[in-house]
Amino acid sequence: MTKQNIHKKHPLLLEIKNISKSFVSKKSVLKAVDRVSFNIHSGETYSIVGESGCGKTTTARMVIRLLDADKGEIFFEGSSISALTKQELRKKRHKMQIVFQNPYGSLNPRMKISALLAEAISIRTEKPSNVRAEAKRLLQSVGLGKENLDKYPHQFSGGQRQRICIARAIATNPKLIIYDEPVSALDLLVQAQVLWLLKNLQQEYGFAYLFISHDLSVVRYMSNRIGVMYNGRIVEEGTREEIFGNPQHGYTKLLFASSPTLKNADGFAATNIRKSTETYQKVLHEVKRQSNKNITANQTHYVLSDY
């Protein structure tokens, strides 16, 4: 119910319609993303959860046009961005930003933090009068002191670098920020800090998030709605409560069964011996065969299936 209220209040921001992407090598064709569709409303967090190679990162890169989709269309604020030329796209870039997984590789090692932030601020439509003061404000909003402005990236820890990446992403005043595994390279306690920061920033500025992760617990904390992805397809989509409270698809259930927690610690590994390995493979095999028919569990909950 609360979900639908959100829909009424917030307009549709991003609309993905049946996008596909294949990578062709000499020997084979790999369908990385296969007929994926989803919507993101402004101010909400939509997460794609799945394992390596499921196509979640490829999807994210197509949304921000670091890759071009083979088929399908992407609408941002009502207009199609899949057909934009590079020049037209450049003008829209500031509305959509991305934060990558590896905090050690996403900052130019030869630039000071102030320059890295100024660079992002400079693409805003309305430029602030004092760029350095604005950079200072951005750093503070991600929990770093102004004394850090004249440092180089290598002087920071992984968690701090990820904060700088986030400051850079919000510096352009975007509508949508894509996070590609933003905390999976970070330690547990630092993870909590960064996730908490992301939620706070969202509440303060009203960003929409597209959140990509393999980690169910992180996704659970962050998301309003979740798409579970396997083998290039979104096999199940629903609100957080629907996915976690009432998982329908075999693969979603498998993912839940695979995550160790502290409570099931004793039984966990014991139940996952060879017998269940075979069931896993059976489930995974079935998922691969499924067609493009969506069955609706309820208004917001979809499951990919062939029955």
Partner: protein
């Protein structure tokens, strides 16, 4: 640009210093030399021909009586000008060609074909041919040399640029919608500066050397202009009667080229830290697989670590990265070490078998394997002792396997060494091992190469290798961190079953509380290189005593249980080498008192149970 590069590592480099001072001497001579010498480099004095070096003619005179010292000084000038201009032209052309080749795939094909075909000729031959076609003279030599050298630069630049284009920081600036020109000047050029500068230094040296060769061959600088190469050429006829004519210019050429090469070598070392650490993991694996049949020990503790302190040394100083760590593992027991990155958990495990990087070594403490003291053994004996008894699994399955051998070759090697089985028996054992780790088609897998298998499959093979000789202890360092959750669940299940059926002891290291909890009976919590708490799994999870353990467990539980609010622990782990006098966790701890900041708490026994904790709260 130069400034930022040199700031990175301030250490003065002996090659650069030597090279720089040598070339400065040459420079000073070429600039001020003409003031000292009163001779004209071109004026002939037949009366003075072939005078030996003396007080008037310091380097003697040549066959027409010209002063060699003066001519050498002018020769240096010409060489330097040629070297500089050639480097400048080939540098600019090469950089433009290299960057455009990396940037635009279509251009790349055209440019790289041209570059390849030029590089197919030996540089000097090409330069001779070009100089021959263009005719002698300074301008033509420069053109010929620039054409010969720009391909090498283009290639270096293209490779460096391609490497940078693949990084995430390039994507993050593309997303900002910045133009290509901006990206090239702000991102590409500063980041390719190091390899480029090194290459330019070599080009400078080679240009000077090759100018000399061309002039020597008569297609270079024309007589009577004093060029070092032309002077060597002249002197060749008098090598027996007047050796000084050839000696001095020759020495100067060697001097210049040597000093520039030294500078190049120094720069390469200074700017490229990657060159030093290139040890591959599978080399370390090989160490573990050497033959030895250990005697049975009936000591209760299988592995015992006592007051282990490990230090890391760099050029400036040494600092403790593991301090005063003690624990014991009994036969068949499982121990998990948990901690965040940099807490010393992996270093502790690696130290057991001395697999740490060469600059890291044990400063204090002992490691016992039964009644053998591993930490005192020379490395050669350690290898023979550990081969069979301790199996190891590392995080990255791909780097633990050798890509050029089949799975069967790699799996059977330790079995043959340690167990001395017959060929057919070895094959049977390999098949059984693969079945044990849950591989469905062992025959097929045995014939495969590592790259043909998925990450999960590779990790299974690595586990099979680790247990191939029935070790009594398995050390697993983040065995599932690189794997997907569904695969992780399977691997954890396999490990659990293997431990039970083979009665192996396990030392597992992980940052993931769920992984540690599902496999270990006892848990050691490390923070900042120290043990902060040690107890049974249930005590740690349900009644964590140390504030850090408590925060860690709490954070894990909140995430696993889907809490709406996360409790935030401010600050970050201490950096290795950061000096903290009191408790290492005190700066982040909500309970810390003044004592916590000034005095280091000892590890004390808990009031209830067998566990230990390092916190002033309990004293």
């Amino acid at each position: 640009m130069y400034n930022t590069i040199f700031k990175i590592r301030k250490k003065t480099n002996v090659y650069i210093l030597t090279g720089l001072s040598l070339i400065t001497i040459v420079f000073i001579f070429s600039i001020f030399g003409s003031l000292i010498s009163e001779f004209d480099p071109l004026r002939t004095a037949p009366a003075m021909r072939l005078t030996a070096p003396g007080s008037i003619h310091w380097m003697g005179t040549d066959d027409v009586g010209r002063d060699i010292f003066t001519r050498v000084i002018y020769g240096i000038k010409i060489s330097m000008v040629i070297g500089f201009v050639v480097t400048l032209i080939s540098g600019i052309v090469g950089t433009i060609a290299g960057i455009s080749a990396a940037y635009y795939p279509v251009t790349s094909k055209v440019i790289m074909r041209i570059v390849d075909s030029i590089m197919a000729f030996p540089t000097i031959i090409l330069a001779i041919v070009l100089a021959g076609i263009l005719g002698a003279g300074m301008r033509n030599i420069i053109i010929a040399l620039a054409i010969s050298y720009f391909p090498m630069i283009a290639r270096v630049v293209r490779n460096a640029t391609a490497e940078i284009l693949a990084t995430e920081y390039i994507e993050s600036v593309v997303v900002l919608g910045k133009s290509n020109t901006y990206i090239i000047f702000r991102y590409i050029l500063p980041n390719i500066a190091s390899p480029l500068i090194v290459q330019l230094t070599y080009t400078f040296a080679m240009a000077i050397l090759n100018e000399s060769i061309l002039s020597f061959l008569g297609v270079g600088i024309q007589i009577p202009t004093p060029s070092l190469g032309a002077m060597v050429s002249d002197g060749r006829n008098y090598i027996n009667t007047a050796p000084w004519i050839i000696t001095f210019p020759g020495l100067v050429i060697s001097w210049i080229v040597l000093s520039l090469d030294l500078m190049g070598d120094g720069l390469r070392e200074l700017l490229d830290p990657k060159r030093r650490h290139s040890k591959l993991r599978f080399k370390k694996m090989a160490i573990l697989q050497s033959a030895y049949k250990a005697t049975e020990t009936d000591m209760q503790d299988l592995l015992k670590i006592e007051n282990l302190t490990v230090v890391a040394a760099d050029k400036h100083d040494t600092h403790e990265i593991v301090r005063d760590v003690s624990f014991a593992i009994r036969n068949g027991e499982t121990m998990g070490i948990i901690g965040e990155s940099g807490c010393g958990k992996s270093i502790t495990a690696m130290s057991i078998l001395k697999l740490t990087e060469p600059n890291i070594h044990i400063a204090k403490g002992y490691i016992y394997w039964g009644d053998i003291c591993l930490s005192e053994l020379p490395e050669s004996r350690l290898r023979t002792i550990c081969g069979k008894e301790i199996g190891t699994i590392f995080q990255e399955p791909m780097t633990s396997l050798n890509p050029v051998f089949t799975i069967e070759q790699q799996l059977s090697a330790p079995i043959r060494l340690h167990l001395g089985l017959k060929k057919a028996d070895i094959h049977q054992r390999c098949i059984r091992l693969l079945q044990d780790v849950g591989i469905k088609h062992p025959e097929k897998t045995l014939k495969s190469y590592p790259h043909e298998l998925s990450g999960g499959m590779c990790q299974r093979v690595v586990i099979a290798m680790a247990i191939s000789c029935d070790p009594r202890l398995l050390i697993a360092d983040e065995p599932t961190t690189a794997l997907d959750v569904t695969i992780q669940a399977q691997i954890l299940g396999i490990l659990k079953e293997l431990i039970r059926t083979n009665h192996m002891a396990l030392l597992i290291i992980s940052h993931d509380m769920g992984v540690i909890a599902s496999l270990s009976e006892n848990i050691t919590v490390m923070y900042g290189g120290e043990i902060v708490e040690q107890d049974t799994r249930d005590s740690i999870i349900e009644r964590a005593a140390h504030p850090y353990t408590e925060k860690l467990i709490n954070a894990a539980e909140e995430l696993y249980d889907g809490a709406d609010e996360l409790t935030i622990v401010r600050g970050s782990v201490p950096r290795p080498g950061e000096h903290i006098i009191g408790c290492k966790f005190a700066p982040r701890c909500t309970f810390s008192t003044r004592r916590c900041h000034t005095e280091r708490p000892p590890l004390i026994r808990k009031k209830y149970g067998k566990g230990t904790v390092r916190c002033w709260k309990y004293i």
